[in-house]
């Protein structure tokens, strides 16, 4: 193509995100993170090996609908002629749209969709930055095991409560496997429709079963409703652990107030991590868009750096070369890449399925820090916020 002599002035990156429909809120946050990262990279001189070419993002709305996502991918590839696609937040959209990219042999970077199977189909052009969802449940159980030892608390029974979508049911499957492995008794396995108008019946059920630990997988709205209803109905447990998603949404803390205190959540990232660049970036993001960075935004933010790095090394906009460059990615903290320096783990490197093999997870607890509810990293202990330790069992 025209990449030879002067190189292109602009490099088009396609982004598929849910900008309307039920997951529009997170879709928008991802979009903003991508825009901010792109701006920074372009300001720093763009892709130098391509003559300082600027990255240009083309956003298309998937509505969270796979069919729309597929059409969007085709449109990005054929009409917009993007060299690479990034997206699509909803696993259900990522799944078929990566298939399209694979057919056209266009690289597809997946910042956040966590469904295991996305990188388990032998695709050559799909690369995922976030951890697989099976890795998340690992951390939840690791944490429990450690706390059992540490505090001598007896934990025998568990309740699984999750939204009945793709994600929640996937998590529940993992939970069951691990509960069996570690010898917990599952007293309640309850999926609920994520559009429920009333979750009191579910909460009533939890109350009857009196589980030691409640594992939750929820979207934002239902996480809020569930937590508030549990408080109203006076449900108590030794530990309530969320699985990111809704619990990580800033709206969750804002809208549950005191009710979420001492709850746990797993997350790929947190603002209080001990990385020096985080405060400044978070402040900038917050000033611009009105809320804190979240794990998913950070993945999206980092993904732009991964893409830029691959382009830099590919020295070309030929999709095949970009793919090879992506496959050879090795970006680590301390190389002066802002997007990488803020991660909770040390390097991004893809295994042969395209999965970032270092992607890590942390456990946070909602704590009242000087009058405001904050997410405090408590596990693994080496990245925990200084001076904080998990309160376990929940009081």
């Amino acid at each position: 193509q025209a990449s030879k002599a002067a190189g292109p002035k602009e490099i088009k990156i396609g982004n598929i995100l849910p900008l309307s429909g039920p997951s529009a809120s997170v879709g928008l946050q991802n979009k903003q993170a991508v825009e901010l990262a792109t701006e920074k990279i372009n300001a720093a001189g763009g892709i130098k090996s391509l003559g300082g070419a600027k990255l240009v993002n083309v956003f298309t709305d998937s509505k969270g609908d796979p069919n729309v996502g597929v059409t969007a991918a085709e449109q990005l590839i054929n009409t917009e002629k993007v060299v690479l696609i990034s997206g699509a937040w909803n696993s259900a959209v990522t799944y078929p749209s990566t298939q399209v990219a694979e057919r056209y042999q266009v690289p597809y970077v997946v910042p956040v969709s966590v469904a295991d199977k996305i990188t388990e189909r032998g695709f050559k052009y799909t690369f995922r930055i976030a951890a697989k969802d099976s890795w998340w449940t690992d951390y939840q159980f690791k944490f429990l095991e450690e706390q059992k030892k540490l505090t001598g608390t007896k934990i025998e029974t568990m309740a699984f409560v999750y939204e009945n979508g793709d994600w929640g049911t996937g998590m529940a499957k993992q939970w069951h496997e691990r509960a069996k492995k570690f010898g917990y008794k599952v007293v309640l396995d309850e999926a609920y429709p994520s559009t429920a108008s009333d979750l009191t019946p579910v909460v009533m059920k939890i109350k009857t079963k009196k589980p030691d630990v409640i594992l939750l997988t929820s979207n934002a709205a239902d996480a809020i409703l569930l937590t508030n209803t549990m408080a109203t109905m006076k449900v108590k447990a030794k530990a309530i652990i969320g699985t990111g998603g809704g619990h990580a949404d800033p709206a969750f803390r804002k809208n549950t107030g005191k009710n979420c205190e001492y709850m746990f959540d797993v997350v790929e990232w947190e603002t209080d991590l001990g990385r020096p660049q985080i405060p400044a970036l978070n402040a900038e993001f917050k000033k611009r868009y009105g809320y804190d960075l979240a794990g998913e935004s950070v993945d999206a933010f980092a993904s732009v750096y991964v893409i830029a790095d691959a382009l830099e090394r590919a020295k070309s906009t030929d999709p095949k070369k970009i793919r090879d460059a992506l496959a050879a990615t090795k970006l680590c903290v301390g190389q002066g890449k802002l997007g990488i320096d803020i991660l909770s783990y040390d390097c991004i490197e893809f295994d042969k399925t395209g999965q970032n093999k270092h992607a890590g997870i942390v456990l946070v607890q909602f704590r009242d820090v000087k009058g405001t509810m904050e997410r405090v990293t408590v596990f693994p202990t080496k990245v925990a916020r200084p001076g904080f330790k998990a309160v376990f069992p929940m009081p």
């Binding site: 309307s20 429909g21 039920p22 997951s23 529009a24 809120s25 879709g27 928008l28 009945n164 396995d189 309850e190 999926a191 609920y192 429709p193 559009t195 429920a196 108008s197 009333d198 009191t200 019946p201 579910v202 009533m204 059920k205 009857t208 934002a220 709205a221 809020i224 409703l225 508030n228 408080a231 109203t232 109905m233 006076k234 949404d249 709206a251 804002k254 809208n255 549950t256 107030g257 009710n259």
Partner: protein, 296 residues
């Protein structure tokens, strides 16, 4: 199963069912009078919720004080909606008893309102802490969440007022007359379209009331109406389209099914039970529990 639990489930079911019923009430009124399925009903509820949300958020009022603003506002909104958008289609379909094509208009309004809200407020979920949020009232060991309890009382009061209005006031009678025979109503000096506007306005105002009732314990977001839409449709058909007691009883039935069955089976399946019960009732009583067979 524990008797206490069942009783608590019944309490929850009735409290929940009451605001379901209230949400369905506006829908059934609009259908009864104008014979239009208002697919924008959930969106009106959303508008009511957002209004109440902002009022409470900005002024810190008691959420029920927001009714003073929400009710007139939604009334005017519904009034205008019917007057400007639905009326032209009704005029074009003057001879049709149930102008089904109007659903396109009401669905269009639904899309527009939901997405305008998205553009204005973003997709995030918002909850506002009100003076009654999270408070409970205990009767023995039984928990009555106060916001739901107040919702129950407001439902009862609203239904009573509506029935009284339709039965005893001049405008109420005119509304009923126009719903039975619009041309004949014209010949009595009733401006049928104004009557429709008012009926639609009242229906919208009731949706607004539901918004205020929900604010203390539910969250607001642009597509919140969709959560209640399908439920409302089931309730009104179950109870009998156009029937006020039908909406209330239908709401209670759905609330109870959800609450009680969830104690025995997975709550995703209770949704299915709702549909099964709904279809079963239709097989037995095609006009719904309180439907007037000869009228439809």
């Amino acid at each position: 199963m524990d008797f206490d639990i069942i009783l608590q489930a019944i309490i929850n079911g009735l409290l929940t069912g009451s605001y379901y019923g209230l949400a369905a009430l506006g829908l059934t009124l609009i259908f009864g009078v104008i014979k239009v399925i208002n697919f924008a009903h959930g969106s009106l509820l959303m508008v009511g919720m957002f209004t109440a949300y902002w009022i409470v958020k900005l002024t810190g009022w008691n959420p029920y004080a927001a009714l003073l603003v929400v009710v007139p506002l939604l009334f005017l909104f519904g009034y205008g909606l019917q007057g400007f958008l639905i009326k032209p289609v009704l005029i074009a379909q003057r001879d049709v008893r149930e102008p089904t094509e109007v659903i396109i208009v009401t669905t269009g309004v639904w899309y527009i309102l939901d997405n305008l809200a998205l553009m204005l407020f973003g997709a995030e979920y918002r909850v506002v802490q009100t003076s009654v949020s999270g408070q409970i009232f205990m009767l023995g060991d039984y928990i009555f969440p106060k916001p739901q309890l107040y919702g129950f009382i407001i439902t009862a009061a609203t239904s009573f007022l509506l029935v009284w209005f339709l039965k005893y006031t001049k405008m109420g009678k005119a509304i009923r007359a126009a719903s039975l025979d619009r041309d004949a109503a014209s010949l009595m000096g009733i401006n049928q379209y104004r009557v429709y506007n008012i009926a639609f306005g009242i229906g919208a105002a009731i949706a607004g009331i539901v918004g205020c009732v929900l604010i203390p314990f539910y969250y607001v977001f642009p597509t919140v109406g969709v959560v209640f839409d399908v439920k409302c449709f089931i309730i009104v058909v179950l109870g009998g389209l156009g029937s006020i007691p039908g909406a209330l009883v239908g709401g209670a039935i759905i609330g109870l099914i959800e609450s009680i069955f969830a104690q025995f089976i997975a709550s995703t399946w209770t949704e299915l039970i709702v549909y099964v019960v709904f279809l079963a009732v239709l097989f037995i009583r095609p006009a719904g529990l309180f439907g007037e067979k000869r009228d439809w």
